[in-house]
Point group: D2
Chain length 134, copies 4
């Protein structure tokens, strides 16, 4: 299956992202991934607010993450997000975060999303979803 | 104005609460205060889910916090919550967190809450609110 | 490989755990799992603060989570945590969260932990680690 | 006392910032303020990492916030940060967040910071601190 173009965002580790090990706390990665998806969908031309307005939601139903290296307060990171369909009814978003300067890996993983209506019932993805992601 | 009885909960600092200074991160205090309010209202006999079910909401409109001392991962803390009416239309919750063993202060402050209907419009507090808090 | 006994904790979904879908936000699960591990290690008789004091750390290097059902503000949940060795040098913690009353699943997954010294260098697990977890 | 120039950053509300009321959760404001301070200090020419490297820390010792209006997922916000000395030994950072397009207020407040050495002991602020902030 063809993969949608990737989108890249840059950001810095915030104090609130750190823990007493002086690197980023693991749960923060899922917040970063969420932001990566938001900007990825915007870059595809259809921000997630428009998906919601059309009654198409993407709840996360599964995730896998590898924590690959440290990142400290104020380190500048680069996050790359892309997506593929996972079967006919689910969307799979791939995310990789690395140090912006050195390219040293920070973490990488994916989230798998059900495609549902506003009540959370799985739906057959509208054709515009397939078109966007393919 | 008479003050409702206080409610006490005990908890431990989690890893996710720490930052690279090896103490709790400041924003976490507002999450702790929220939990303190939830348990305070339950102890008064009317959990906040029942307030919501009756269309009475308590959005936070103001807060003041003093950060008084350090608290590290797994430290056992004691949080005391109470409340008063602030004027006729707002609720003021007071929270103080200290080390459970030593009594050394960790932080203290308050949150001020509007009393609104489900659409967020300020309402005159129902008499059961006044009764509960007085 | 034998599996250590499981530890169970109960908790409620907090307001800060919810998002605009009115269920728990996905990243919060990793904070819950962390708390589950902390209490699991305490139940084994060796709190993580003692691991740290002996220079044995357990940084998360991988996680996999399935989000299985909704959970709303103030819902009472039950989290079960256990652990196995993953090969000779890594610890794998298993976590499952369900509704305390109905047993309906909320989420389940695992975290894989490197076993390192205080500088983050992988070490051969001390025998007490193997003994605890086996 | 003269006030340092203000610094402005723009950002969008993330899904993780929302709660079941469909607006931002109150504790997130302290994370936003922290980011505002980080970028404010960078704009002054001395990023906080350099303060830390010189052994000058700014732990938050007090905060006051007014929550003035709603902000929903993906809303574009504008945060303005500035600072003054608070007496001779403390720094006061002022933050105001509004909707980027309409100027409608979201929240406003301040954080007061002790000025300490790396061990957390209050110090007389170095002259470069006074110069930066005045």
């Amino acid at each position: 299956m063809k993969q949608a173009r990737a989108n890249v965002v840059y950001f810095r580790v915030r104090y609130c992202d750190t823990d007493q090990m002086k690197s980023y706390y693991n749960a923060r990665v899922l917040e970063w991934f969420e932001w990566g998806r938001t900007e990825f969908l915007r870059a595809l031309g259809k921000p997630y607010t428009q998906w919601e307005a059309q009654g198409v939601l993407l709840p996360v139903c599964e995730t896998h993450i590898k924590f690959l290296g440290r990142a400290q307060y104020d380190d500048r990171l680069k996050m790359t997000t892309t997506a593929t369909m996972a079967g006919r009814a689910r969307l799979k978003c791939h995310c990789a975060i690395e140090h912006a300067d050195s390219g040293e890996p920070v973490c990488a993983g994916h989230t798998i999303h059900a495609i549902t209506d506003a009540e959370g019932r799985p739906i057959r993805p509208p054709s515009w979803v397939i078109d966007l992601v393919s």
